[in-house]
Subunit: 480 residues, 4 copies
């Protein structure tokens, strides 16, 4: 049966991988005081699959495999896409309100590879599609977690890959052997690398003939000896749960992933020089992954909304018209995202390999909306919460009887709400919108995760049939 | 067969109705120089039903009736709702880019009445539901056009209906007879009254027991002798098609509809005193009608988008990044509306009488979005068009050879685009965004049509399950 | 004494000028049914100078001239700039709430010419500065009205002047004679040409050596036989004052101004080939004129604000928190403009010829602010006014006793406010924000008048010392 | 001579004050590992007064005192106000880019007290004005730092002070003695209490006769034995300067300030029961202090702008149009604040006691602008910086040769910019916009510091002469 337990998953990460954190080599990510927070967070989807409360969402019977992770279900229609969005939403909700893409991002890549590789093979007689299917089969059977390394470090942004001073500014093939290829370079912003089993590597942009060696896609085990994982942590247990309820557990982790002459055997190669497909593959993965993005975000919006409503109640202002108006602004924030999910699913398109792909326009406007308005949503929550978000005493002041008596007396608003509960919510808002690990991370994530604002604009322009509207206007005006 | 022709529909309006326009009683709206523009506009849906290009959208085989107007199809599921939205979109597109709700708004009211009246009857043993069905049957069989009169004049807004100085500030029952009721009052903003067959009257708000006589709903023929229709026209043929391509034909018309002691026979009464249901009926109709609103708007957005892209091309600026970015802003404007339509359909709820009702939250945020951003969208089009929108010479200057030579020489940008085409598009943009009848009307319509911005905010707050989010946050923080 | 009366000014326009309007040559603009509206509007500043209520603002004692139009006062310090802004504000207020730049725009040009020409002369030994001073002297003594023709028609916008297929796409010198030059081309968007005495022509952009013949500035009487004035009217008396209180009188007028081989004598030439100064002159005039723009706009903002507050009062909603919040949004809209005026004056810079020039950054952000938010301000007024703005009956319905009785009964809200007053304010709002001549014109004017949004962005970037901030950050981080 | 040195100021804080921090009583704030960061920050204005580079801004010769802190200069005209604004700006710039109000907030309070107390005395024959002058005299002569404690903890916000369940929810007089009064209660959000010499206490709102005992204002030394200062720190040296260049030094500190039956001698009382003046005093202080707010903010805006421009340059994208457009958005953000300062100074009003008070409308719209748009400004900086802001390795990874080689190779963009400098700027942006102590603090500070968004709206509505605009519209429409 292809469903790993949480413990089995954690054990699978003790495999000698090269992880570095804060100046040190980490020999065991599962026990490291900081990195283990993330490992535990990432492992929660394995717990969910065995949790009777949510199992029906996380587990799906797949034809050839029996019960498997629902992430591996290949979407064939709108309902499959809506179910996938619901699964991704449920994952955030289950994982203490922070996103978890341990199996989402990998399947995003696999679905994109299936559609593109079947086309490449048709044109070039390559066997990439079969490689993808075989790799997919292993991931399902072993219930693997995957990271996707896509964003190259890029060097001078005004130059194409082959024009760079440093040829390694984009990951590329440095040697072609009969049994495989050797690759070199580095990828930034790889989410979760230190807590997955496999890394899927994809090109980050379109390529020209001269960029041939940069048109490369493959999968590599996370513990490959020449893969170096330099990790940035977005959590700290030292902060304490009362003051930082999110940052102590609900976390993300990105890495600088270095490929220091990594050998990739033939059966793990998905693209190796067919430069005409590099852009299509990059874009199709981006589309899938942005669908994941608009699906994992709503529960974070729910938190902003819930926190705003709760603190307004505790502050005794929930009946004021301006407060209601602000709550509704938050509703619009989160539900516009959900509307885009629905539209993207309903208006999907079936791609080669029979995969139902979400509608790109709704995905990109959803992603743009969430990115462009997150800061404003956070502002609204802070607005309703009040200045105590940053000025309230710490949990240790509450433990010191000398100060506790004042805090309990003076920071209480309604007699039916203990000061401690109000402070809890204020701390939560501080952590969610005004702290380093969760708040600060969320602000930047919203803007840059899954492509910047500018990237959404360009992608939308590319995908939209503007000419349809021009023709309509011309017909109204009798212009040929 | 219940499909009227365009001519039959127009003929049906010559029935002696009491229409007033610009200080005069109009004896025949179908030949009046101004009002006939609207009659013609409203009649286009009857043309569409016989137009092979669009017939499959406008006509639907209904069980008991055979081929009928697709507007009468009672939605039972998401697909029916999506088809209705598509029909309403297609109607705007077909009607020269201006909305036409000759059968949309009436069916909005009928669907709302079906759900509510079946409930009223259950509680009170009344027979309203049967009245509604019988009226619906007639409308389908005779392929009637309907207006809905809902917004009362309201008098002093801080007082309830029964508290008003003038008891007629809300439409109410002034006499109850064995064979029917007599009603008095006036409704504002009734769209299309002078070009429909029937007027459906609904309450505008929730009522208390003291407001009992104001809780009244019924249908009345538009030519009832005590119904006075004071019409405001949003079109003028005198403007000339070149200078005002929209205002000469694509139009709307609203009326102050006065009920000067109108007798309503029993079988046409849908509510008459059951005040507890007045609010529910008002709200359910509003929900249906706002779904119509978000469905008729996208082709207007398409026009803004198409006009912007076309004039940018004519002006030679379409490759500039800021221009593309503005085009994408317009895409987001219109497609966010379409996303809300999809979400409202997918997340529908089945109401009494087995009717699938659109999800209110997505309807209201869609309506709010279109209202709150229309002015900004118009600004963007003007921004790309340039100042000539308001400063270009008129068509008559183009006909005067003395000036025409200068205009043709100097107002040309690209050698492959005749100056005349550029001016045509500039005039179109002027008419669409900066003229009295179309532009000015559109601005205010976007804000107030189907309920103001504030109304959407209140409705969203009422409908949304904020507490779900509060519970989620409490669970994350272990607060009971 | 250099102060003309209103009648003298109007008489001065009967001079055989070549004005075309709506397909016809207009022989006398002062009696033409449409153009005379504008003539009358433009003449109001001459009335103001003799109106004891405002004379102290409009008239100033100038050293060499005695009492003269205050517009001709050359700013030497912050107080002079503040007085000029106050004068321009007062002009709008005095002229029925619509801007009037009959002497503002010309002095904008003259101040710019004084600063630039003194520099050109220094470098080239030309005598342009003296020409400017002599022309200024005449304008003051004869109290002339002036238009400024700057915006060329531009042809293909991706090409420079000398590269155009049609060499006349920018106004240029086609012949140099001993006694002067002959110029050809056309300018768009010239405000008020048909109601001024003199036209000042300025270059619209920076030029290269090859564009030498396009680097031309001069003044020409409006009745020059080879100047053709094709006029667009923004007013109509036919609309009626009750329904369109603004459009019947408070108006603007722009022209396509054609220079069909116009001879300019030497003493009226201000630039003729010194291409290095074309850009500086264009920009400095733009700066002065945008200062005029931010100065004439506040009374229009006051109207939006006053109309919003008044209709809210009539509608009985002025105490609602959301209404107050919207009123405050309008206050912020207009007072941010006024704040920029103050800052631009206080932070002025003294230019060659000893002229105090407003600070460009505050001028451009003020202009951007008013342009970017005007539509939103109009939306807010419409939001508070309600749908009657577009659906209320016309004045003629009020004159018809059959309908008047209903209108007076039903469109009344508060017993102390006659329905007629409420309708007056609603019509005013319609005219101001939703009509062709005033509303539509205002929307586009706000965006494009005195340079587009993009122009403000580029100008701001050019003028701002971004590097000051970069150096500050580097100093904080010890980066060299 | 009244100019203390930095060392003397620091020494003056070793006075046995009751400070609590993170669960512990702090016996010496000047040596405490965390609180000393703030002490050092606050002491910088004393350094500035002796620093020849900035002395002319920070020091002013005052009639009776000779050279004194320029903060004590009582504004008499626009120039004085502009100089004060410049002084406050310069203070932020001098203090590592974080605001420092060690003498600003206290003088804000003193100027407000001077104007109000002279009025109270006139009405009641009290001698508060003399008390204020005497206290001011001491502050000048001893060059004291002051905190202002205004915001009461408020308990149930729907109740007035005297209606609260806990009578101590607002600070109030619990005993009146011949030699003074005894007060009880607590104030939140008091900035800098642990590093000042004196605390000035002011009422937070208007009061009724029943609230008489709550209408109290006075000054008390920070080391009074019954004053308990519970401090929240916004800095930490442990974070390391490379990763958190701001949070290690540029900091704020707020306190919950408890008055546990504090005795105030008669000569230190400024209001004690004259409830009619409580609101006016609260508002006038708020006005002064918001003028301080709009004055201390621009250098923070300069940092956002400089950081954005610098990282864009390092990222090689500074020439892109969308980047320039975003830089200009940041210019508008910060310069609109500066425009409001200028306008507030120019349009000041002279109050009782001959003090020139900034124009409230410009102050409040400036404050609203900075608050409403700060999050968006931060978003723009993050947008230009890229995802590395949150994903880059830490300084310790740069010190580990194993990882340093990869970081230096791969995180470099331009060959003339060392990777380390790029990382420095990215860290700075992270700290400024996405960290707990500086970024998170700044977000909430912008919204709530010196009054919330809603407070600015209400204050603007109260101060603005809306009726002037209504009258103008009525005059245009001939409505009486």
């Amino acid at each position: 049966m292809p469903l790993k337990t949480q413990e089995e998953f954690i054990a699978s990460l003790r495999d000698g991988r090269n992880v570095y954190y804060n100046g040190e080599r980490v020999t065991d990510v599962t026990t490291h005081p900081v990195l283990s927070i993330f490992v535990n967070h990432w492992s929660l989807i394995y717990k969910a699959k065995h949790d009777p409360k949510v199992k029906d969402i996380f587990v799906k019977r797949l034809d050839e495999y029996g019960e498997a992770s629902a992430y591996f279900n290949i979407p064939r229609n709108a309902d499959d896409l809506l179910a996938r969005a619901k699964l991704i939403e449920a994952t955030t909700a289950y994982c203490n309100g922070q996103f978890n893409i341990a199996q989402a991002i990998g399947t995003d890549a696999l679905f994109a590879l299936m559609s593109i590789c079947s086309e490449v093979d048709k044109r070039y007689g390559t066997r990439y599609y079969q490689n993808v299917l075989r790799f997919y089969d292993r991931c399902v059977r072993e219930d693997l977690a995957m990271a996707v390394a896509q964003t190259d470090v890029k060097g001078d942004r005004s130059k194409r890959p082959h024009e760079q001073d440093d040829p390694d500014a984009y990951v590329h093939i440095v040697e072609r052997r009969s049994d495989g290829i050797v690759v070199r370079g580095a990828k930034v912003h790889t989410t979760g690398t230190q807590a997955v089993n496999e890394i899927i590597v994809l090109p980050t942009r379109n390529m020209l003939a001269e960029d041939r060696d940069y048109a490369v896609a493959f999968a590599i085990p996370a513990n490959d000896k020449n893969v170096k994982i330099i990790s940035r942590a977005q959590a700290s247990k030292e902060l304490g749960e009362f003051d930082y309820p999110m940052s102590v557990k609900a976390t993300a982790q990105e890495t600088l992933t270095v490929f220091d002459d990594v050998f990739v055997p033939n059966e793990r190669i998905f693209l190796a020089g067919e430069y005409e497909y590099a852009g299509a593959l990059a874009r199709l993965f981006a589309l899938w992954h942005r669908f994941t993005a608009i699906s994992y975000k709503p529960p974070i919006g729910d938190q902003l909304l819930g926190a705003a409503a709760l603190i307004a109640e505790y502050n005794g202002i929930s009946k004021y018209p301006h407060v209601r108006s602000k709550i509704v602004k938050l509703i619009r924030y989160v539900e516009t995202i959900r509307a885009c999910i629905r539209a993207a699913a309903v208006e999907h398109k079936v791609y080669p390999a029979g995969i139902a792909v979400p509608n790109p326009v709704y995905v990109y406007i959803g992603k743009y909306h969430l990115a462009d308005n997150f800061h404003d949503a956070a502002k609204t929550v802070q607005d309703l919460a009040g200045g105590l978000v940053i000025t309230q005493p710490t949990t240790r002041d509450l433990e010191n009887p000398e100060t506790a008596k004042y805090i309990e007396k003076y920071l209480k608003t309604r007699h039916d709400v203990p000061a401690k509960n109000r402070l809890k919510v204020l701390n939560y808002i501080r952590d969610l919108t005004a702290s380093t690990y969760t708040g600060g991370y969320n602000y930047v994530l919203s803007v840059h995760g899954e492509g910047s604002l500018e990237a959404q604009i360009i992608s939308t322009y590319t995908e939209y049939d503007v000419d349809r509207c021009v023709r309509y206007v011309k017909s109204l005006l009798n212009i040929e």
